[in-house]
């Protein structure tokens, strides 16, 4: 029966299960694109197969249109990008009319990022989005460093809890709180989000910084202070993911300086259930696709067949040699 010329192939390796859960939100894979780094999705059609993404977080919307901050709005720093865009957007009504109809048919889960100036405004925006078809989740941007109000809500645990709880009270849509690293105790803020009923938290928004042109005695950004993103902040983001994972059970979406598949894997092992690709979209518009293509190989290298084999598998005991860590991770995979 068998064809003698047909080479004997090893049995096919089943494709790994890339799906992940963030509370009530289930995503086809853990590679998402971050708010403010992917436009409204439509801009990327020439570069990215949008329906392959684990999720799209379009640019943050506010209740009313905002022109945003005066240029310069970004400046490149060492291995990083400092930005102060200032939530330039056309407002929630224009988003629902002009952007969402296209986004919801693009094939990827759409996680709408909203920023309210106050707790009641967050609740009002969530109420307006409740029942609108095509929204997989809400990401609460309580952490934009470039508008004065957002950061106040995101730096106080009780305010964070009240924003999340208020939003949960008016919508059945899963809720993710995006937190700022510019706080003394990230765990306390994350606990506030968890107590408020968040399905997950996104760690981290940008780190505040400034850049200076000393010859002109001028700040480089029109708004003086901006938020730093890119490879320069990856260790800070990983530290935040680590601290929260050690203390709390809430699912984490990791973001901050991810360029390579190694970066993605570091976040998963440290405790992120999914990652968002941000500044890398600027450096290479195909970045998200490249990472998605590399993910199954990286899972196979760890003998992992599903994302849960990896997530939070970091051996936290200090000082283990790299080889030991790898062996330990492998053992854990077999045991699970």
């Amino acid at each position: 029966m068998s064809n003698p010329n047909k080479p004997l192939l090893p049995p096919p390796v089943p494709a790994p299960d890339l799906s992940v859960s963030l509370g009530r939100l289930r995503l086809p894979n853990p590679i998402l694109v971050a708010s403010g780094t992917f436009g409204y999705g439509r801009e990327m059609v020439g570069f990215v197969a949008l329906d392959r993404l684990g999720g799209i977080v379009p640019k943050t919307i506010t209740q009313l249109p905002r022109r945003g901050n005066v240029p310069w709005r970004t400046v490149e720093t060492s291995a990083g990008l400092l930005n102060s865009i200032g939530l330039d957007n056309d407002g929630i009504e224009a988003f629902l009319k002009n952007q969402l109809p296209w986004l919801k048919q693009c094939g990827a889960p759409v996680i709408v990022s909203i920023a309210g100036a106050t707790q009641p405004e967050f609740v009002q925006m969530a109420d307006q989005l409740e029942g609108v078809p095509g929204i997989a989740a809400l990401e609460l941007n309580i952490s934009c460093p470039n508008v004065s109000h957002g950061i106040d809500l995101g730096t106080d645990p009780e305010m964070c809890r009240r924003v999340v709880a208020g939003v949960r009270g008016v919508t059945k849509i899963p809720v993710i709180a995006k937190l700022t690293p510019n706080v003394t105790d990230i765990v306390a803020i994350a606990k506030g989000a968890q107590d408020g009923g968040a399905d997950a938290i996104t760690l981290i928004n940008t780190c505040q910084g400034i850049a200076v042109d000393w010859r002109r005695r001028r700040p480089m950004l029109g708004n003086v202070i901006g938020g730093l993103s890119g490879p320069a902040i990856k260790p800070i983001a990983l530290r935040c993911v680590y601290q929260v994972r050690q203390a709390l059970d809430i699912p984490i979406v990791g973001v901050g300086g991810i360029l390579s598949i190694d970066d993605c894997m570091e976040f998963f092992v440290t405790g992120a259930s999914a990652v968002q690709i941000g500044t890398a979209n600027f450096a290479d518009p195909r970045a998200s696709m490249n990472l998605l293509a590399a993910l199954p190989g990286a899972l196979a290298e760890m003998n992992a067949t599903r994302m849960t084999d990896l997530i939070g598998s970091l051996m936290a005991g200090a000082g283990a040699p790299a080889g030991e860590l790898q062996k330990a991770a492998g053992n854990q995979t077999h045991a699970s």
Binding site: E43, G80, D88, A283
Partner: protein, 306 residues
């Protein structure tokens, strides 16, 4: 509260993102280099006034790409511009860029030799669209000539970019006014002369051409030119912001139509980062920040809130 912008319509859908080899790289003026890359996917479709984003792959410092105007495109690696070079788009393969070394990206770029690779995406932006006029005036300041050569060539009918099915308006003549701080900054001026343009140069120090600015060149031109019929003249301009604002004022005072190509810092070039915004006015005079990369870089000078 301002009027919300209408939806953006000029997406980078036709752009390609590729890794391209550097074919040649040479000094053409003080601190100024001419770069040729092998990029058939981009060279075939690039139109006058469009740009690409160029990045040194795998590096995190510099991390991001930079926008550079497409200066010219060619069918063969070793050809210099020649009049009558009208290949079909299928054969067009190389693209040239000219840049001045200014920051860490261009400092790193100038060290790259032929054979090195660059990550490139483009062509991007709207490019120039010129009305049918007798006389096209190209006005450049500094490195702004890079956005204008292809436009002048096309309007003189000595080269066609993009699809061979495109029809472009012809001008009876093209005058190219170029201003710089000093004469050492003019590189490859022969490209413009050989294409059949009337070339006029100005330098602030008087080392080459007229001592003064491009506006002086325009004033000089106006003395010999019949400006009673401004609709027969069109200006396309690219250079430093102050210079473009001066040219915009000059043309507005004479009711001559003027398009400018804005140079803004960009992080992505494709509309996702909202870095490169400029204050643009709508028909009702209301301004909003517009993304230079996908709603420009070419705008009518009257629409810009200088």
């Amino acid at each position: 509260m301002h009027t919300p912008s209408p939806p953006v319509v000029c997406y980078a859908d036709a752009a390609r993102c590729i890794v391209a080899d550097i074919v040649s790289h040479r000094l053409v003026a003080e601190n100024t280099y001419r770069l040729r890359i092998d990029c058939p996917e981009i060279a075939a479709s690039a139109l006058p006034g469009q740009f690409v984003m160029l990045r040194i792959p795998e590096r995190v410092d510099p991390l991001l790409a930079r926008p550079l105007a497409v200066y010219d495109t060619f069918t063969a690696a070793d050809t210099e511009p020649s009049n009558g070079d009208t290949p079909t788009e299928a054969r067009r393969r190389y693209a040239d860029f000219i840049y001045t070394v200014q920051g860490k990206f261009t400092t790193a770029l100038k060290e790259l030799a032929p054979g090195a690779q660059l990550l490139v995406w483009g062509p991007l932006g709207n490019g120039f669209s010129v009305p049918t006029v007798d006389h096209l005036l190209l006005v450049a300041g500094g490195i702004g000539q890079t956005a204008l050569l292809a436009l002048g060539r096309e309007c003189l009918g000595n080269k066609l970019y993009g699809s061979s099915l495109r029809s472009v308006p012809r001008a009876k003549r093209v005058t190219f006014c170029w201003g710089a701080r000093h004469g050492g900054l003019f590189g490859d001026v022969t490209d413009f002369r050989d294409a059949g343009m009337d070339v006029r140069l100005a330098t602030l120090d008087g080392s080459v051409g007229h001592r003064g600015t491009v506006v002086d060149l325009l004033d000089e031109l106006a003395q010999t030119e019949d400006l009673l019929h401004p609709q027969s003249i069109h200006i396309a301009c690219c250079g430093p912001e102050g210079m473009m604002a001066a040219v915009a004022r000059w043309s507005a005072a004479r009711k001559i139509s003027c398009d400018v190509s804005l140079e803004a810092p960009m992080a992505c070039g494709i509309g996702i980062c909202f870095t490169c915004v400029a204050k643009i006015r709508d028909a009702f005079g209301e301004w909003d920040y517009r993304r230079t990369c996908i709603e420009g870089p070419v705008f009518n000078a009257m629409a810009i809130d200088w």
